[in-house]
Symmetry: D2
Subunit: 337 residues, 4 copies
């Protein structure tokens, strides 16, 4: 049994990692920590774990925790992870980081997150954990940068067409809609129930910090610089991101051909489901699962792609466990079906 | 035109008072204040008022504001109002206070709100603003204690049966369900969207601070001490309180008789609608209105009463304007239909 | 007082028309009809009208109703209106039709709605009721085709840039998100609470029947054929449509210039509010109002426009009353502020 | 591997049974049926099963299905199950019926469901499947009447106090609040999104068909006739039932004593979690689980009990699988944790 720890156990992503690990047959949760007033059983902090998990949630002590784990998940806010990860890496323990701290190049990170990067040496070694694109690198990773929730669905929705050179790398638009857990569990006036419920708004239009992450990976796929137009929206629901993506076809292609292209690209990938022609995905079919569902519609010179993920599962915790499975040589789907 | 000010203009109750006053033909909003970073037009702070109201929202300055208003609404948190009201009262300007600061006797207030009362002299003069019970007192009020949201619906649901001595004053139960605006606009982890949405919970069971307010008024109605059982619940919707009330009949009575009793009690009261036998109220019919809708069902020795109000209108801002209308000799319904 | 009737009084649009007319000082509702089991007061069918409106809702009888109204609103499903409107027009009574039956040219209508048009003579005389574009025609209209909910927000969001020849008429994309009232009040399995709540989906991608309506009006504005890409989505909220529109700039323009262009275009139009640079609209600010709020962001060669309307007000009933005001020479805003 | 069939595979309860059985290690789903237009893979009908379950959903054919299953779940509407169950029972195949058809005595059933019972001989042999009360009977059951969603939470919330004779068997009140899946997946105008969302209502007050079921079981527990007051409410959320129960203490008891009593009663029962003193359950902690969480508060002579279940899991499909586990000698929790 792999001994696993979770730092940031009481955030939405941390809670979800724990929920999945409880079902995982090859790991044992040995350590949990969070910024809390007093150390107590995790089931006292998160009643849903009552009767399911009997582990004390401690205050943060990376060095101490590193001694009692074989691998650690960091479910921490951006800018915090890079101060914690080295403690585990120095002790030789693999790290799966769910924050953005190890996803971007130093300069881009510092521009978008407005702070100096504190762990440049490790940043260079981090592997971007999108298994459908980087399986081989992930197998060897010691520091895994788990993708952001928006980038997961957006990149998976664009990569096949882009890799096939079927669409124009310029002028890619992603209109993305996220449930409210995307913003994390924090007391923010803009996130209280009555401000989100019966409301809908675009935010950080083309200025969201996930944009450079999407650009970086798509540029790698295309072999040239890509700069997408990216508009995130906040939707009154708990979970899920649906991205409606508009691509300009440079190869003529009907919907059937597009579906065939995507099905071929994701053949053998257990967590991407491409809809048959005429069908489109919806959020309720992916909520609580590690699937990314993709639907396609070609119309004139436009290819419309609709991709759906659960932002806390395939967009965070599930993908993190998928990455752990790959890093540890387990079945890729263990604990995730 | 009556010159009116609103202190606490950016809270849910303050915003709602303004929304109603804009429609009111006999008043003019001359002053607004709130705890804000810089003074700016209210329409910049609350975009919904764009094109509808052109008044600067200032930082709090009760003495200054008192000079430019004929009457003031205080949409402030409990414990804050009693520090502000005297500035207006001393300047001879009537005050309608939407907080709990002037609703209870000093001792009870201090026990339930955990703080010394700062304005005992005015407390004695305050009138409880439930127009269906206290019309004559309200006409003469200079300091009006506007009822709490839960008490409004609960008291209106019980008063007719209690006044008629049809039900046992002991053993009254109110199971009340409130939308999330009831908690005010504040950044609280328990109020963020994902904690309230797809969730349901009882809270402060029989310990809610509105219980002594309900007890005080019902005791007055019954002419004897009353202590109800009161369970509030938080419902995933923005507005509305539905209270399901269980009363023990001491006079045998069928539903038709109960309906007749309630219709007679509220005859001529423009904002209470008693449902015909066989019909029950629902929240959507009162949202955005100043109505309290009441439905009745007698079954064996139990009289079940269902009452619905919009917590921000009849349970706060609407009733406050109703009280202003009465205090100023306007039509009771002006601005409210 | 203008005597007004509403056919289809119990649908969402009909109910909303009535709600607005109750507040209107220059009209009197004399006739209501709907497909119902037995004729009864409208307040029995829609309890929210209790105490506010005392009119019997009758079964459909256009000829009879025409005798007792000066003007009629048709809140009927598509394909039904065109069978009813002639009865009123023949009696010389102006008709404001909220369905799609008089919005398109005959051929386009028959293609998209899959049925022969039953009232071709009147179709030719119908005026498209978007007051911000067609004020003069509306003043003289006898048969008014009230715009669809999606087209209202989409057209208002695109017209200024298109009229200015600032953007490429080819390659316009509107990604639109609608609350569930957009689908009308009908018992459809796809519309029940648990299928819509905590869900999100695109539907009728580029095949929605509002697309030809948008194309027709934009083509008129541009003076050339336009064919947009249009993706509607169903959002778990009751009301509101937010459209995120992507336009290709052919005149270089920053956000400030775009805002200035839009403010100039809509100067003097009481129901369009253009946000200042750096601000974006949200649904809660327009819900329950007749406003269309528009925000802009220019980025590289893309102009992103976000427009918000309440689908039942500016997108249906409110705009219908605005049109009535113009047709009857009333103040354009009467009953709507 | 136990071969299992599900009749009514496309309803909410049927879908949930399948979802749980997929995770179950000791069973194999061999047969599915539903009233459908054409036979197709269940994953085409319910996209969430794509990649997880590859079984054809057939049209109803009980005799045919009986040959290929060892046990069957009936996820059918009331009045339908009793026409189907005999086909399986006659073939010697155990039946777990999720409808109400085998829960009540014949006379009571016929009164409350308004129809003659079609399968009286089997009705007499049916076992009521509440494992916390009837474990031994369930072990031997061939025809299991799975409890209703409301009765599960209400009975579990009352049984310990009643069995202990701590509370008055007269005057029990259950104020119950249910999410919208409780009404099943059916196209009903009262269940469409906009009628349920931002709304709240009581319905079938003291006349709900689950009342006689609760009365029957509580009477058995108390050893005397019981007739509770039962008020169900519809809450704008998908899943979950929270019942707030009011009991009159006849043994003086504080909250600590009540908690101790309940903990003792449910000791060793894996799916009931009694909250520590001072804590109360909430819906989000039980959604998606087979737990019934119970919180207690004694106040004066009233014992307030709050019980939470997921209506589709412990209130339907989960409990059905729990019963199957017991009937088949599997671990009671298999597939359910």
């Amino acid at each position: 049994m792999l001994k696993v720890g979770v730092v940031g156990a009481t955030g939405y992503a941390g809670e979800e990692v724990i929920k999945i690990l409880i079902r995982h047959k090859l790991v044992k949760i040995t350590e949990l920590s969070a910024i809390i007033d007093k150390e107590e059983p995790i089931a006292s902090l998160i009643p849903a774990f009552k009767g399911k998990l009997d582990v004390i949630c401690k205050k943060p002590d990376p060095e101490g925790m590193a001694k009692n784990v074989d691998l650690v998940f960091l479910g921490l806010p951006h800018k915090v992870s890079m101060g914690i990860a080295p403690s585990f890496l120095n002790a030789g323990k693999p790290v799966i980081d769910l924050s953005a701290d190890y996803r971007l190049d130093q300069k881009v990170y510092e521009k978008w997150y407005g702070t100096a990067h504190k762990d440049v040496p490790n940043l260079a070694k981090a592997v971007y954990g999108l298994p459908e694109l980087y399986l081989d690198e992930i197998k060897k990773a010691k520091l895994l940068a788990n993708p952001g929730c928006y980038p997961t669905g957006v990149i998976l929705g664009i990569a096949p067409a882009l890799a096939d050179k079927a669409v124009d790398p310029a002028g890619i638009i992603s209109d993305s809609k996220s449930g409210a857990t995307g913003a994390g569990r924090k007391a923010d006036l803009g996130l209280i129930f009555c401000e989100v419920n019966e409301n809908l708004r675009a935010y950080k239009v083309n200025e969201h910090q996930h944009k450079p992450e999407i650009n970086k990976i798509l540029s790698r796929v295309a072999g040239r610089e890509i700069d997408i137009v990216f508009t995130p929206h906040l939707i009154p629901m708990n979970r899920g991101i649906l991205s409606t993506i508009y691509l300009k076809l440079i190869k003529p292609m009907d919907t059937a051909a597009a579906v065939a292209l995507y099905k071929k690209f994701y053949a053998g990938k257990p967590f991407v489901r491409v809809c048959d022609e005429g069908k489109l995905p919806q959020i309720r079919d992916v909520v609580g699962t590690n699937y990314c569902d993709i639907g396609l519609k070609a119309t004139g010179s436009t290819l419309i792609v609709v991709s759906c993920v659960d932002n806390l599962v395939k967009g965070a915790a599930g993908q993190a466990v998928q990455n752990m499975n790959i890093m540890c040589g387990f079945s890729e789907t263990e604990g995730l079906l």
